[in-house]
């Protein structure tokens, strides 16, 4: 922000009394994000020419959507319960479902450690942590410590989980997963603990109060939500701003890189030379594509704990009991692995071909 000193303010004041400089004094109208509003004037929008006639023409394009169409796509759930479907699910069913479809990425009881987000554990008080070094504890942002509304949890699971097969869960299954995730986060509903037998339904869902409900600002809910955002964003002091100091400005010390991150793919290079494999084109087979879609999220990621494709030792271990056994375990599911990798639409034949591919790539 420019700082006006006393002299400038007085000079501007005189200028406006004399009738000029009124443009300088006019309060610049700001947009909802604190930015300048640019008008379209004389056929120009900033440096762009525009055909202003286009804006005053009626086009009547498109058609009315049907009720069924809107119902099919309107999947969001609001904090006040708008959009929440009827249904029910128990903590126990949620636990089984979680172990079968979620734990391979989010860890046992959602405790993380698999390279995907941690969903439970931690304390709200940790949100104040400002770690300086690698040994200091960072804030733990989980459903229980961080999320302000349970509606987001329902909507998220329903629309985007499981990661490699979203929109595959029934409403009852989503209810049970929400119940389970609330229980492992030790969240009570209406003073009641969520034990294994607890059955969550729409009525009970509306009574959920998340522990960190008041952990966010500015207040966007209610009638003044947009106005609150405008006020907040229009003052850059709310999020850190500088000044155009030109000489003898305050200055900190030089800090060099201590912990360098350079695991880059491909590795950095500014060389201008011919690539090593000109003309070699790798075309992925249908089976490789199926592997990418269904299996790679776990079998391509060492953090998950599944045998990674290419890991000779891990696969040799699993081949000890023969290919047939390997097929069987994969088709029925084993440990963290859901049946057919969570994709029931795969035929046995395709599934076996994928296993063959994975085994061959790991020899």
């Amino acid at each position: 922000m420019f700082k006006l000193d006393k002299k400038t303010v007085i000079a501007f004041g005189i200028a406006s009394v004399l009738g000029f400089g009124s443009n300088l004094m006019a309060k610049v109208e700001k947009n909802v994000d604190g930015s300048v509003i640019y008008p379209t004037k004389n056929g120009m929008y900033t440096l762009y020419h525009v055909n202003t006639k286009a804006e005053n023409t009626k086009f009547n394009l498109g058609r009315k959507p049907t009720k069924n169409e809107i119902k099919a796509w309107k999947i969001e759930v609001f904090p006040d319960g708008e959009g929440l479907p009827e249904g029910k699910g128990s903590v126990e069913d949620g636990a089984d479902l979680f172990d079968a479809k979620c734990a391979m990425c989010h860890g046992d009881m959602g405790m993380g450690g698999k390279g995907y987000p941690q969903l439970s554990g931690g304390e709200i008080s940790s949100l104040k942590n400002q770690p300086k070094g690698p040994g200091d504890e960072a804030p733990t942002k989980t459903i229980g410590t961080y999320w302000p509304y349970a509606s987001t949890l329902f909507w998220y699971i329903k629309s985007a989980m499981p990661f490699n097969h979203p929109m595959s869960l029934t409403n009852d299954q989503v209810y049970s997963l929400v119940a389970y995730l609330l229980s492992v986060n030790e969240i009570e509903i209406d003073g009641e603990e969520l034990d294994d037998e607890y059955v969550l339904n729409k009525k009970k869902f509306l009574k959920i109060k998340m522990p960190n409900r008041n952990g966010f600002y500015p207040n966007v809910d209610g009638k003044n939500g947009v106005e609150n955002m405008k006020k907040f964003l229009s003052n850059p002091k709310n999020y850190g701003t500088g000044s155009r100091c030109m000489h003898n400005c305050p200055r900190g010390k030089v800090v060099h890189i201590k912990y360098e991150l350079n695991d880059f793919h491909p590795a950095l290079s500014e060389k201008r030379d011919l690539p090593k494999e000109v003309g070699v084109k790798k075309v992925k087979t249908r089976i490789q594509k199926l592997y990418d879609e269904t299996c790679k999220a776990c079998h391509g990621n060492p953090a998950v704990g599944a045998p990674v494709v290419g890991d000779k030792k891990a696969w040799a271990e699993r081949l000890k009991n023969g290919m047939d056994n390997l097929y069987k375990n994969g088709i029925n599911g084993i440990n963290g692995m859901p049946p057919k990798g969570g994709n029931p639409n795969l035929s046995d034949k395709d599934f076996k071909a994928i296993v063959d591919y994975m085994v061959n790539e790991s020899k």
Binding site: M1, P117, G215
Partner: protein, 437 residues
């Protein structure tokens, strides 16, 4: 050397090219220039160069036929100019991940479509344009469904805007970690977008007074949705289907994405299938678990839309050092400035890590919510310097120092880091990413 008008005309006819002013000026000034050419004998003497004496391979045999690549490709020699990824920013896989733009190699303000940074939440959806539908519904007078062809029937507008992920530079809150411009600032790119202004469509749809917010949702498997204020949609938002003259790339939301100029990358919803007008914010997943900024009080800023004023020096940088620059040589210091809150008005450069500053020149087109080039001519004396840039925009905001930003935000917000970037240029010309704090 002075040419008469007739002679100029003659020359012009002969070359079939009109003589412009600068060319005329050149002839006029020719005499004066020749004196300085003599004085400029500082240019090094040299031996015969094989690259000139020997006819190269490509000069003595046929090249590629014109139909070799129906869709062209860059020179094979440029194979290192690519997007790059790192497991740290990839959630354990490359589906919910980000590929960084090689901004150290980008010239001007337009990023080629194949190099545009790419962030997605469940992989790149390949949408069938024939089955593409856009639904506009909720608190509106006339809800509508539009096909791609119908969207293209509206009068088009073309604008140049950057898109930046708010996590750009996020691993650097506690200290410098990447010795590479590509990884420090590559979660952004700038392109020319074509589509229809939302205000044009919304005039026909008719927004009810109660509608203050909009849910914008993608059709990809993450069904990425965000809540936006109606005000922004009526100001400068667009529904875009083209990028740098061709259809959007799949990883930019083919066939249609929302464009909210200057705002957080993921508000520019890709594979856009739905705009629902509502009277309250939706608190979507990307407004809860991610894209919220934790501050030292333990409270978090939940919604934050514009990308703040920012800048970085692109030449030199750790990826493009001054190792071939000799003491006493002139060099152009060049960089990029941008602001989602307006138009760049000033960029200042410091050679001592921010103690003293000099104003740089802006270069080329200076447009709102767009990459803006700046330039500073510099004679390097071979001594180490701490090179920083600091941008200011027309909303009156200036880039903060690291201390100014951290004082308010702490070190855990992840998003919206726009503090001043400093390069340490060593006497051998090597460039390192450092922080002044």
């Amino acid at each position: 050397m002075k040419l008469t008008k007739d002679k100029e005309q003659h020359l012009s006819n002969k070359t079939n090219m009109p003589l412009n002013n600068s060319r005329r000026d050149f002839f006029k000034k020719g005499f004066a220039l020749s004196a300085s050419v003599v004085a400029a004998s500082a240019i090094a003497a040299s031996a015969d160069d094989e690259a000139i004496l020997k006819e190269p391979k490509w000069g003595s045999k046929l090249g590629w036929p014109t139909n070799k690549y129906p869709y062209g490709v860059p020179s094979p020699y440029e194979h290192n100019v690519v997007r790059r990824t790192t497991p740290l920013l990839s959630s354990g896989d490359y589906y919910a991940a980000v590929a960084m733009c090689p901004i150290q190699d980008i010239k001007g303000i337009i990023v080629p479509n194949g190099l545009f940074f790419n962030r997605s939440h469940g992989g790149t959806a390949i949408v069938d344009p024939n089955k593409y539908r856009l639904l506009i519904h909720g608190l509106v007078e006339n809800p509508i469904v539009l096909t791609l062809d119908q969207i293209k029937r509206y009068p088009s507008e073309t604008r140049i805007h950057f898109i930046e992920c708010p996590a750009n530079g996020s691993p650097e809150w506690r200290g410098p970690q990447f010795n590479s411009l590509q990884f420090l600032k590559g979660m952004m790119s700038c392109a020319e977008w074509t589509g229809v202004k939302l205000s044009t469509i919304l005039k026909e749809v008719g927004i009810k007074p109660k509608a203050k917010w909009v849910i914008a949702e993608g059709s990809d498997d993450s069904h990425m949705a965000r809540t936006l204020p109606v005000e922004k949609l009526l100001d400068d938002a667009m529904i875009v289907y083209a990028q740098n003259g061709e259809a959007l790339r799949p990883d930019q939301g083919y066939p249609v994405r929302l464009l909210v100029p200057g705002w957080e990358g993921n508000l520019n919803v890709k594979w856009l299938r739905r705009l629902e007008f509502v009277d309250k914010p939706a608190h979507a997943k990307e407004e809860t678990a991610k894209y919220t900024m934790l501050t030292p009080s333990g409270k978090a800023i939940q919604y934050f839309w514009p990308m703040e004023v920012n800048s970085v020096i692109t030449s030199p940088c750790p990826d493009k050092p001054w190792t071939d620059l000799k003491k006493g040589e002139w060099v152009e210091i060049e960089g990029l400035a941008w602001s989602g809150q307006g138009t760049i008005t000033h960029v200042d450069i410091s050679f001592d890590g921010g103690r003293n500053w000099k104003e740089a020149k802006l270069k080329g087109l200076v447009l709102p919510k767009c990459w803006t080039r700046f330039s500073f001519m510099y004679k390097w004396n071979g001594k180490p310097i701490l090179l920083s840039s600091r941008a200011t925009d027309d909303s009156g905001n200036t880039q903060p120092t690291i201390d100014q930003e951290v004082k308010v935000m702490g070190v855990m917000p992840i998003y919206h880091r726009n503090a001043i970037v400093t390069w340490e240029v060593k006497s051998n010309g090597e460039v390192n990413n450092v922080q002044i704090r």
